[in-house]
Symmetry: C2
Subunit: 226 residues, 2 copies
């Protein structure tokens, strides 16, 4: 159907831009490997709980966590994370709908990451389930949050993100009694795109399940060093 291609022209991203992004992502990636940092590109819709999850992770990891915050506008999220005593750098994209490797590279320099080296770096992407999927930031893994109020039908509607993640975080499980949401459906649809995905059920707000995700990240870092 012609409608399948509707709008594609406007968002087609030129290969020189992608080649430049990939080159800068490779630089970030070799820095992460040299410093033994597990870098996670965290992607979700607006309001699914990325920043609340990072507050909870900061409580568990302390100095072992650093965060790069991506937002279209405002520094609200970085201020929330900084209160938890975690190293954080805010990228305000000024309109852009995703982060790129160049902006992350600058943030790494601003965080002075060679001197103050965390075990885990989470790059909180701009709240958007579509555009961030296409841009490599140099991360070791992508993770996506799907929150219960968003609905259990969202994985197949946004396959570019959900097919590329190593970890699916089903968040806001404290709201399950109030909503119709089948966590098994969401996870099964994600595994239909991506058989190896690891699933986590958590409530960033209450802290439930965050410890298991934290342990997974530390384990993943250890495995990458082995």
């Amino acid at each position: 159907m012609p409608q399948r291609d509707a709008g594609r022209r406007e968002v087609k991203i030129g290969s020189p831009v992608m080649a430049r992004n990939d080159a800068l992502a490779a630089e970030n990636r070799s820095l992460f490997q040299r410093l033994h940092i597990l870098a996670v590109n965290l992607i979700s819709s607006p309001g699914s709980g990325k920043t609340t999850l990072l507050e909870a992770l900061a409580g568990l990891l302390g100095d072992d966590l650093a965060v790069i915050e991506g937002d279209v506008q405002t520094r609200r999220d970085a201020e929330r994370i900084a209160k938890k005593g975690c190293a954080v750098f805010q990228i305000e994209t000024g309109g852009a709908c995703h982060l790129n490797a160049e902006a992350v590279g600058r943030a790494l320099a601003a965080l002075n990451i060679e001197e103050k080296t965390p075990k885990i770096l989470v790059i909180e992407n701009v709240g958007n389930l579509i555009c961030p999927a296409a841009f490599d930031l140099g991360e070791e893994m992508k993770a996506a949050i799907l929150s219960v109020p968003e609905g259990d039908d969202k994985v197949l509607k946004y396959p570019a993100v959900f097919s590329r993640i190593a970890a699916l975080l089903v968040n806001k499980i404290d709201l399950l009694p109030h909503l119709e949401f089948d966590p098994r459906r969401a996870v099964a649809e994600c595994r239909s795109l991506n058989a190896a995905v690891e699933a986590f059920y958590l409530s960033a707000r209450t802290g439930e399940g965050v410890d298991r995700f934290c342990a997974y990240l530390l384990e993943k870092r250890s495995a990458s060093l082995a």
Copy 2:
């Protein structure tokens, strides 16, 4: 700060593309005016309740409503709306992060809108709070949904959308007892961008408040005919 512009290059949209979109949007707009259709471009995050709202509106408006559904992938939303007996056409963008005027023009032809003319046409944009803001589809007005679980801090984080809307729909108010969300904050921040915005508090799931939004749309259509 240099970070403010990070990533802008990748999403800059060439002026020939925008000029072409604007020309096609003008064609759509004159069709809507000739047929006395109030066209609404409905924008929100994934999972904020756009489709559930349209199911509720279809229950109130019947044949007076037609819907164009935009999704990256799947026809799930159109199937849900069609069950309510409403005329609906699905645009699957195949990856693109927003609708454009050309795709909407094709959908109008497919809906045979000159023969089966609704009073209200809602164009449900792709679930994305960023990219759809930039593309005129020929609509009379934009409306945005902000759902309670997304948080009352989201308006200023996504100003491009919230500064351009005529109506702000605060949805999922049935979840207010379970979450910290100050509706006055969300509405006040929206009015700081856009003093004339009309605010609605509703639960598309329970139907609460949908009648008031429906009456507003019919009134807005009448006013545009006067």
